[in-house]
């Protein structure tokens, strides 16, 4: 029997050492290192806020918030700083995109959770996820190459001012909509599936049709999850850059009309901050001001959706 082993059969008299052999600095160091990794997230958020607020602050020394938020012309090169065209541009794409994506996404979700057989589900759900993984440049290309010409071809005459031009918000909206369908369908499907089957079975036992069960039982029960998915999709759409640059164009335009070209907030940042602009100028600072606005909008939307997801998870888990 080695003297090393902390043996059961050690003769009495050897003090059982219950104290730690060392101060276990290794464990403490590891704990700190790991905590630092996690804390990086806080550092990142703080850095984003500082990166945005610093120059934005400088910007608002020169340009009054009133001018920024209320004026309707955006042309920094001519000292016109009304951000509304950019906001409306983003809104146009996002709104029309949601008009497309919400029914499609919810329909797909109801189909997957209430109607599809397990085999169909096993195929369709991953395929929809593929849509979520397609890089946005590819979707943007699709918009320019197929969607815009298609829209131009099928457009009914002079409706809303005539067929869309080469750059138009409508095609961008359709592309962005297609991009966010998986977000809505996937999360809503999860929410609907987590509705206890007892609720459904009770309704079926009373003779309700599938439609009635889906619309009157499952949908209301999963509402917070569904709304969360829409809010999340909204946030994602607002933050999308490549599609709007390629498809909607880069002309600030105060309109929600889908046939018109617009410039979204993200597009403005994407084409302006590419290094040609001199730092320290007011034009450079506009990038951060718009960026700050963008961050604020998505932050609020994300917080709302986090809250909602927590609510629907709480109810059933």
């Amino acid at each position: 029997m080695e003297a090393q082993s902390i043996g059961a059969s050690s003769p009495d008299g050897i003090t059982r050492r219950l104290e730690a052999p060392s101060r276990r600095w290794g464990e403490k160091a590891i704990y700190l290192a790991l905590a630092l990794c996690a804390f990086l997230s806080v550092i990142t958020t703080t850095a984003i806020v500082i990166a945005l607020l610093g120059p934005a602050f400088g910007f608002f020394q020169e340009v009054s918030p009133g001018d920024f938020f209320l004026k309707t012309e955006w042309a920094p090169a001519q000292a016109l700083f009304g951000v509304l065209p950019l906001v409306l541009g983003t809104l146009s794409v996002v709104l029309w995109g949601l008009v497309f994506a919400v029914p499609i996404g919810l329909g797909a979700a109801i189909y997957l959770s209430e109607y599809a057989t397990p085999r169909v589900r096993r195929i369709v759900k991953p395929v929809l996820e593929v849509l979520a993984g397609i890089p946005t440049v590819a979707i943007g290309f699709f918009g320019v190459s197929l969607v815009t010409p298609l829209l131009q071809d099928i457009w009914p005459g002079e409706f809303l001012g005539g067929p869309p031009g080469f750059f138009n918000a409508g095609a961008a909206a359709l592309c962005v909509g297609l991009m966010i369908v998986p977000i809505i369908s996937s999360i809503s499907d999860d929410a609907m599936r987590s509705v206890p089957s007892g609720l459904r079975e009770g309704a079926y036992a009373l003779g309700a049709s599938k439609m009635r069960v889906a619309l009157r039982v499952v949908f209301p029960a999963s509402l917070s999850g569904t709304v969360a998915s829409i809010v999340l999709a909204f946030s994602r759409a607002v933050g999308e850059t490549m599609i709007v640059i390629l498809v909607a164009g880069n002309t600030p335009n105060l309109t929600l009309n889908p046939v018109e070209p617009i410039q979204a907030m993200t597009a403005y940042i994407g084409v302006t901050a590419t290094g040609d602009i001199a730092t320290g100028t007011i034009e450079y600072d506009t990038v951060f001001a718009v960026g700050a606005l963008l961050f604020a909008i998505t932050l609020v939307a994300n917080l709302i959706s986090i809250r909602l997801v927590r609510k629907y998870r709480e109810v059933y888990e």
């Binding site: 276990r24 945005l52 369908v181 999340l232 994300n302 986090i306």
Partner: protein, 313 residues
């Protein structure tokens, strides 16, 4: 009161009666209106699914149709060029590969470390841990272009001051996908049953020994899948790189992540898609095909990994 024969009401009543009997005759096995509506509803939602799937198909087919003319092995071997006939994606593909190499180096230790901390060490009740979790959830939803601004302000310029180099791109993309890795790693770690940890601790192992020798090895397949998914996302991102000085018409292969211009596949595709010349547009489509093939390979690998090594508890 006069009982005037009102042709409108009478006509309506007859019309309704006629319609009802016609409907009932046509739908002999569907006696109730509800069943009809249910069928219509079902048709509608199947239409919804079809639209989504059709959209996806159209996208893929369009890219293929537009780009297949340009498809050739040259795409992989020739560097970027303004001459569409001789241009390839080599520079861009290598750039992207270098970029995601850097992302892997950053994201695996930081992401897995954060996940271990949150799952194994952090006391959920403490406020600072809840703030960390909230931050991670938030960062997952920040627009990618804002990460570009972050990179521009702090990595390219600011304290790190690396300039418009590949390393800055890797770091920025790394921060962008870090929340994804953390979330996936946490899921994988959480899936390891507590009884394994108890068994290890009961033998006299320390917490870190338990994590390192029991929990992590069991969670590796899940973590790996998450990392690959994050990398796929980083591979397709262009927006942040636009702000970090990703040049486009450079022809030299990447050699030093800390100096010189760099480019990436999605950025090049974007530039080419913007151009007026149809040959360049065709090239962009070919580039999309290449990009999609790479992504398909990565994701298939991830799925294979998960199926092969998944631990069934």
């Amino acid at each position: 009161m006069s009982e005037e024969f009102d042709p409108r009401t009478e006509r309506t009543r007859l019309a309704v009666a006629g319609a009802r009997s016609a409907t009932m005759a046509a739908l002999r096995d569907r006696p109730t209106g509800e069943a009809v509506r249910s069928r219509i509803f079902q048709a509608l939602i199947m239409f919804a699914v079809s639209v989504a799937l059709l959209g996806l198909a159209a996208l893929l087919i369009d890219a293929f149709v537009e780009g297949e003319g340009s498809l050739s092995l040259n795409l992989l071997t020739e560097p970027t060029s303004r001459d569409a006939d001789n241009a390839g994606f080599r520079t861009a593909i290598l750039g992207s590969l270098w970029l995601i190499g850097g992302v892997i180096l950053l994201v695996v230790p930081l992401g897995v470390g954060a996940a271990i901390y949150l799952e194994e060490y952090a006391n959920r009740e403490r406020w600072w841990n809840r703030i960390i979790e909230l931050n991670i959830q938030n960062l997952a939803g920040v627009p990618s272009i804002v990460y570009g601004i972050l990179g521009l302000a702090f990595i390219v310029r600011g304290p790190l001051d690396l300039g418009f180099v590949l390393a800055a791109g890797s770091m920025t993309l790394g921060l962008l996908v870090l929340p994804t890795v953390i979330i996936a790693a946490r899921e994988a770690i959480r899936a390891v049953p507590p009884s394994i940890r108890e068994g290890s601790l009961a033998l006299g192992a320390t917490q870190w020994q338990t994590v390192r020798r029991q929990v992590l090895p069991a969670a590796v397949p899940g973590i790996l899948t998450g990392v690959i998914l994050a990398i796929s996302r980083a591979f397709g991102e262009a927006a942040p790189l636009l702000l970090l000085g990703a040049a486009t018409f450079i022809t030299a292969d990447p050699s030093d992540p800390f100096s010189g211009d760099f480019t990436a596949l999605p950025v090049l595709i974007y530039e080419e898609a913007k151009q007026a010349q149809p040959e360049l547009r065709e090239l962009a489509a070919a580039g999309i095909i290449v990009m999609l093939v790479v992504l398909l390979a990565m994701n298939s690998f991830a799925i294979w990994l998960r199926n092969r090594y998944e631990q069934k508890w």
